[in-house]
Amino acid sequence: MQSITKRYPGGVVANDAVSLTVLPGTAHAVVGENGAGKSTLMGVLYGSIRPDSGSIEVSGSPVTLRRPADAIRHGIGLVTQHTTMIPALTALDNVLLGFEPSRLGVLDRRMGRNRVEELSAQAGIEVDWGASADALSVAALQKAEIVKALYRGARVLILDEPTATLAPAEADRLFAVVHGVVASGASVLFITHKLREVLDHSDHVTVLRGGAKAGDRVTAETCADELVSLMLGSDRSVAHSVEATPEASRRSELALQVSSLTVRGRGGRPAVHSADLSVRAGEVLGVAGVDGSGQRELAEAVVGLRSAVSGSVTLCGEDVTARSVASRAAAGLAYVPEDRHREGLILDFDLSENLLLGRHRDASAGGGRFLQRRRVLADAARLLTEGGVVSAGATAPASSLSGGNQQKVVVARALARRPRALVAMQPTRGLDVGASAAVYDAIRARTAAGMGVLLFSLDLDELREVSDRIAVMYNGRIAGVLDRDDAAMDQLGKLMTEGRP
């Protein structure tokens, strides 16, 4: 394979005349803030988005990619941020799908399986191929996706934010696979927000900003500060604006208390075992843990979306265990759900309607028996301004906003009732540095006024920056609670993966 050249200049604002070249046998990182056009670029490369102009060359010859099938034929494989594995099919069938080996018209699973196992052994991947895809963990699915791309003969493997939902140890294992793939002579193109991944695992890096290319660097010759200034477009350095709550605002009274709470998860399996947590007023209690350790079930039980088997939830001294979601919210408990598209917003509704949801009984927000449209709009406009949301106004559909601005809307709504406690699930998931800081600024303003925060996140760096204390979940239990100053990375890692310090 000769040098691969791809050029996409586009009339689309998402990608403005972006060119990039990936050399065979290298790992190439693409970084940029949200909305920098990374995903669009990858979509063009995989044939799922058509560029308005520009050209793509694979191994020196120009190609036209009208649909994913074309990209696959030219040796381009994509591993998306969210799995494309079909839950009801086995991992093996998912890999074979579309490129099924067959004998006399009959699907030859044994032949397929041999090939798949051969490829995964080469890449150092272990997956239970006979299991149905919905039984596999996020990390296993991602590895299966890589094998799927290799099975299709990918010489250029695109990974779209591969570590967004992985625990640190899993991310390391994933990059070990990436290095293996690169060593075999193929190329890997990965998108990420995390500069550490770029610096540790890529040979070349392309920085995108506002749809245009801000620079190409050889990784060995650059540093984090330079990349950040390229991403942000100024000489702003990494200095994080996110800090922990000032000691002064922390009070002694409890905002939220969870006592020996046991919760069942999907299919009735026990997901949280006798969890004890207490969040003081004005405090941020972070909750770390490998994805799927019971965080979701715990959060949902606290806010009332899931009923607890036993134990209690106390809000500012008041037992709310038996109360409904609405009643808990009225008592001062707010929630920022994990998935802003599915749980946080109704994308087809406009911003004023989204901001009203959950507050639709408040006369001050324009709710009540009949909606007062004018007041709803005024209230929404105020929240949008206060929340620093960049939008076309209160009547713009939620789907028209970027991810960061959508999240600001979700947070603004949660904080609009001046809650006494907030449960936030990965509130900065998929957000860039600037949007993350804005989200935490908004939360911190309320924390200073005495709100307690229960913050769930998979990102340990972030947790260590914003939490006063960090609880670690392991297998549905609270394995330990550490003070932020004592929470060393390796100690947290050990609690997360082994359940003991």
Binding site: R67, T84, I86, L89, N94, L96, S102, G105
Partner: protein
């Protein structure tokens, strides 16, 4: 009841059950073909009706085998119309299905009047030489096995199941999902048309108003009870056929009203929906973005 008496009761019952189940099995396979590629198909009823009528008309003109061919072709066209309405016109699948059923019902009724009953002189909508029902029954049972193998042991079957679960993900795997859907709906129409042809050309030998009378819906109920698998659907269809046959046998001799017995498939579907927790294909009824 003595041995011979019991046999004398059960044998005709079994034959009758198979005769009643045959159109349900054929149409049920059609339902599976459609719903497995993600298209809700309550239009089975209409497809059967269109097949039954067109089959009879063609059968009178050119013989029953030509009649079957025409019924199957018309069924396929109706199937593709359903696909076009849901995919290109982006109609809700149920709305399109209802429209097709109403259109099929009223157009066949209208044409029946025009071409037969009110023609001058009136013609009976009847054919002289009927096809043997056993032919269809045998074919239906063979097709159940064929579709089972097709769905689980061939590349095409894998693709069909994948499209029904998630069209977007299947496209990302490099598959022309539009083609798979077209094949599914064409097959669906062919099978439902065949079921219709069975009714008019083999079972009764004539066409009357609304002669399908709910069998399309019962076939769909069998699909649900059988969890969208050919074998499960066939088992449910045979059970429904047996209830139907039992109802004929018991008519007059038992105090149970026929309506109650005829509602058994529907009650069974409700019970199955609660007890078996059938999991429909995940993308069933999804309108593409």
């Amino acid at each position: 009841m003595s041995g011979p008496e019991l046999a004398g009761f059960l044998l005709p019952l079994g034959v009758s059950a198979l005769r009643q189940a045959t159109p349900l099995v054929l149409a049920g396979l059609g339902g599976i073909c459609s719903e497995r590629v993600g298209i809700v198909n309550i239009a089975l009823e209409g497809m059967m009706l269109a097949g039954a009528f067109s089959g009879l008309v063609a059968g009178r003109l050119a013989g029953p085998l030509v009649g079957v061919t025409v019924a199957v072709t018309v069924g396929m066209l109706v199937g593709l119309t359903h696909l076009w309405a849901t995919r290109k016109l982006r109609l809700n699948h149920i709305v399109s299905g209802v429209a097709i059923n109403l259109l099929a019902l009223h157009s066949t009724t209208f044409l029946l009047r025009r071409l037969f009953n009110q023609a001058d002189p009136p013609v009976e909508a009847r054919i002289q030489t009927m096809l043997p029902t056993a032919l269809f029954t045998g074919l239906a049972l063979a097709l159940v096995v064929v579709f089972h193998l097709l769905l689980y042991y061939t590349p095409l079957g894998l693709r069909v199941r994948a499209v029904g679960e998630s069209e977007a993900d299947t496209r990302m795997a490099g598959i022309d999902t539009a083609r798979v859907k077209m094949m599914g709906l064409a097959a669906s129409g062919v099978l439902a048309g065949l079921a219709g042809a069975y009714l008019s050309l083999a079972q009764v030998g004539r066409f009357s108003d609304d002669m399908v009378s709910g069998r399309g819906f019962i076939a769909l109920a069998a699909v649900v009870c059988g969890r969208w698998t050919p074998l499960g659907m066939a088992a449910a269809a045979l059970a429904f056929g047996a209830f139907d046959a039992l109802q004929f046998q018991l008519q007059g001799s038992v105090a149970l009203p026929g309506e109650l017995l005829r509602s058994i498939p529907y009650i069974a579907t409700v019970v199955a929906a609660m007890a078996l927790r059938p999991r429909p294909p995940a993308d069933l009824g999804r309108q593409e973005e």
